[in-house]
Amino acid sequence: MEAKVSLAHGSGGRLTRDLIQSLFLPRLGNDALAELSDAARVQLDGRPMLFTTDSFVVKPLEFPGGDIGKLAVCGTVNDLAVSGGRPLWLSCGLIIEEGLPIAVLERVADSIAAAARDAGVSVVCGDTKVVEAGGADGLFINTAGIGVPIAGYAPGPILHGDKVLVSGTIGDHEAAIFQARENLGRRLAIASDCASLHGLVAAMLATGVAVRVMRDPTRGGIGAALNELLAGSGCSVELEEDAIPLREEVRGMCELVGFDPMYLANEGKLVCFAAAEGAAALLAAMKAHALGAGAAAIGEVAADGRERVYLRSGFGGSRIVAMPSGVQLPRIC
């Protein structure tokens, strides 16, 4: 392990995973944590519950499609949702940098309130701290969430022949942030897809189709998410590049700066593995929901023991989508 924490440790890829597994797990070790799933499964007097937390660090604080407040609510709601949970209560802790305009804080608070209403959750406790200028990039937010499992959802191991589905276009969030920060395009209308997915998940599970596992592909994009989901499964996936929904603006930006959309963060999308026989019905249910209108079946599982993500281009050639090893950098080469 390296001697200092670097930005790459926070990028959601290999280094993040290594940091968690080698530094935290051995010290905190318990079964619930060891699963390293989006939300922990715990029990209160025999009643199953879901518990999760996430911290939100984004620059700029406000961007097309949302702000850090909306992100903080949706992110935690989504961790519960993709664990098959109905979100109920959130905590909200803010670390505010001295000098942040009150007007910004008000807008962020408005967003938190609106997003909570939309997700049907209550923010029942919170905390605020103020740190010296330079200490927090404006504002950091942590939210923790409690939910209850949706009846009838039984996640299971990924099996040969399962289909991989995504709920819509990939990379929108990170592309929007990148554009907001770098201002590369004079006129480039990319908005974050930040949204709460509890309703979409409920609609999906209501079909009764066997959904093996779901994940919201945030940091590291669907590339990281799929690699993580395959770990320990003995299975690989083969994705069809042409089937993966991608907005033209995002495709263009990626071509311009050399980004791979597979690794761009999403904040209002989910990927899932589902039994082949139910995939069509599941896809139909997703498309019928506002947040799943762009849903698509993007690949299939093969129990080949390799645990790799393969991406087949429209030309027939395949490449491996490995776990990302840090933040993607723009290039001219």
């Binding site: 670097s6 590369l184 281009s313 030309f315 491996i320 490995a322 840090g326 080469c333």
Partner: protein, 368 residues
Amino acid sequence: MKFREEFRNKDIARGLLLDIAHAAAGLSPVKFMEVCGSHTMAICRYGIRQLLPHNLMLISGPGCPVCVTTGDYLDRAIALARLPGVIVATFGDLLKVPGSTSSLDKERAAGARVEIVFSPIEAVDLAHDNPDRRIVFLGIGFETTIPAVAIAIKDARERGIANFLVLSGHKLMPPALRALVSGQTSINGLILPGHVSTIIGTAPYEFLARDHGIGCVVTGFEPLDILQGIYMLLNQMLKGTPRVENQYTRLVRPEGNRAGQAIINEVFEPADAPWRGLGVIPNSGLRIREEFAAFDAERAIRIQPEPTREKEGCICGEILQGIKTPDDCPLFGQHCTPVEPVGPCMVSSEGCCAASYRYLEKPLGSKG
């Protein structure tokens, strides 16, 4: 005509692959080299290597500026980044390239000001907006990028921006190719870089066919361009007529871009330059001319970079020449990975080794 989708037509691609397989049938192993990082990237991205017949190998030459940039250049950039009052402006490509003991990324984490820019002009604007700092732009890249840097220097002079400096690490393609083929006998054809050629034209490559009997095709970067380029090279081989052909006619003219050549000449002059793995190649790099010395970071700032140490076991040099493959490297995959790269071939996302590690089951060059 959008000049994009039309050159990605899958049906035509399938047809071209059949033509290629037919033309290559029965030939003893054919080796074509591409010398542009963007070609390596495109070939990997579309999975072209696996679609070619088994007796046709594509190998990657020294066309990735990150790969051929020496540890010495990185060490100097790092020394500059450590100076208070200096902002290093760079293309993202260089951020993770390892110097002897550090990288620009690590320096940034330690508090140095390192900014990623998307164009050299942006670095001039950065200098304008930060008058109390000196902005050093890391000038890497071949003839495709050099005109933009030259224009940035002229812009800075015109705008009276005195705190804009360039550390020239630019390299020239024809001298590199000359050095490459002097040591090589096994390349059957060269896929030449389409965008470098947009600037320099096709004449500078004539010596390859004339003196060395190596067929060349100036090739574009869309999948159909690359496949057509490969097909044209095969035909040259079959007819025994090595020459310089242009596949990328929609952009490359035989005389190249005169304005681009002129501006490079106006601001820069040829200089001997060290290439990773190939050693010092005479007149293969560029130095800023005396007239523009005020913008030369080399002349303007005294630095004490640490002595450059090449990494033991790293055979990036031989890989860049196409003599060895990542397979042959004792460090590949174990001590040298994308997360902890030792040499530039692994750092650069289109470097041979990074491409092998990420995109293929088996390292490049080992077929089957």
